[in-house]
Symmetry: none
DNA sequence: GCGCATTGAGCAAAATGCGCACAACCAACC
DNA sequence: GGTTGGTTGTGCGCATTTTGCTCAATGCGC
């Protein structure tokens, strides 16, 4: 078992930093360092702790997060509420492997970390690569669902989302319409909800457990 | 009609630089600056001519191409014969949007330039973006057509498509009819589906993985 | 003889459905 | 207000089936 990937979160907001640190820790194959809140502390942490990945906000109280990741020779993800093209482009030019707009569902960061882990394996520093493997690594990093969603899974998900266009539905109902079992529909709907593609509400008022109602997020 | 994208090619080999310059010039929406052969000349060209994109070799006689693209705030592609993971990773960290291993077919650079043009449109500096558009732009840049999918069908593919004219079928079934192994038929059918020549649906209702059903797209 | 592309065998993993334990609610009762 | 029983729905472990992938074998062209 290889060493876990160590990640440094850099965010001026203490809570946000802690939240992201927790997400990282919860991911298989990852360990989170204590978050830091500014460029100076981040520089020291990079020097002393040699993280494998830095997850950095654009705006930091003592400097520019983008300039910071440009200066370090460490893989980096940019995280920011900033969503103008100029900032995004600047971050990518500075070497950000990915750019996430805050706030986001925890699952989104998890999936990006999953993709990054696979990417690292594909372009391990000690390997000889060919163009195909470089290209594939980049697709893994930037593809939807953090890599190749299998044909089966994505087909089933598309089917469910399509059926939800007609309006809110329960798992049982939509399973019936899709020709799936209730458990399978439930499983997929829960995953879609976790990723933020679908909303869940609960229907109260009758005996028994409340029914989960799913709808497409608009 | 927007201004053409200006591109600076940086390669110590005069012929290679000229070749790439010609490829760029041949691309719709692009104009190539005169290639330069080293970091110093490249720096001057960036300062004086403000290219939109730099296509740079890793090894330059007067410096490190990767360090050079790290220092400029211009979109860059890395081009090199170097194919070790460490170099590729370093280039990506430095902000290379893409990495091409020399030598390559001219068409490959053309397609990457096409992808870059679309990418630029999607993340135009004056736009407000959301996560989906950032992600989509990155997929456009690193997408499937990175690997040149053969447009022409192999003999095996033609056979499978012919057999599918009879109607929807599973991989196992059609393999039997074609005299191939299931795995081979599956592989070809998956490739055909990826290209859009064939549709995939899933057969639900029994335990185990759902069976892929293939049919010719009309 | 070697490199490359293709095939097939075999295996690990993905995805499904079943069945059941239990969670989450509601209403009746004390 | 708290407890209890009943009802309905969810989530999960497991067996099953299929897919997707790796690797060895083979054939072809140079």
């Amino acid at each position: 078992m290889t060493d876990p990937i160590s990640v440094l979160v850099v965010d001026d907001d203490f809570h946000v930093g802690g939240l992201h640190r927790d997400i990282v820790d919860a991911c298989t194959g990852y360990t989170a360092l204590e978050p830091v809140r500014g460029v100076r502390a981040a520089r020291a942490a990079v020097r002393d702790l040699s993280p494998d990945l830095v997850i950095c906000d654009v705006y930091l109280p003592d400097g520019d997060g983008i300039a910071f990741i440009a200066e370090i020779d460490v893989d980096a993800f940019m995280i920011s509420a900033a969503s103008d093209g100029a900032t995004v482009r600047r971050a990518l030019r500075a070497g950000a492997l990915d750019y996430l707009i805050k706030p986001f569902e925890p699952a989104r960061l998890s999936e990006r970390l999953g993709a990054y882990r696979r990417f690292r394996t594909l372009v391990a520093e000690d390997r000889q690569l060919d163009q195909d493997s470089i290209d594939r690594a980049q697709r893994v990093l930037h593809g939807r669902d953090g890599g190749v969603a299998s044909v089966s899974r994505s087909t089933t998900e598309k089917l469910l989302i399509e059926l939800l266009q007609d309006g809110e539905s329960s798992a049982s109902l939509i399973a019936g319409r899709a020709g799936l079992s209730r458990a399978t529909a439930q499983r997929h709907l829960a995953a879609l909800a976790t990723r933020g593609d679908v909303d869940v509400t609960l229907r109260y008022g009758s005996t028994g457990r409340p029914e989960h109602r799913y709808s497409v997020r608009r």
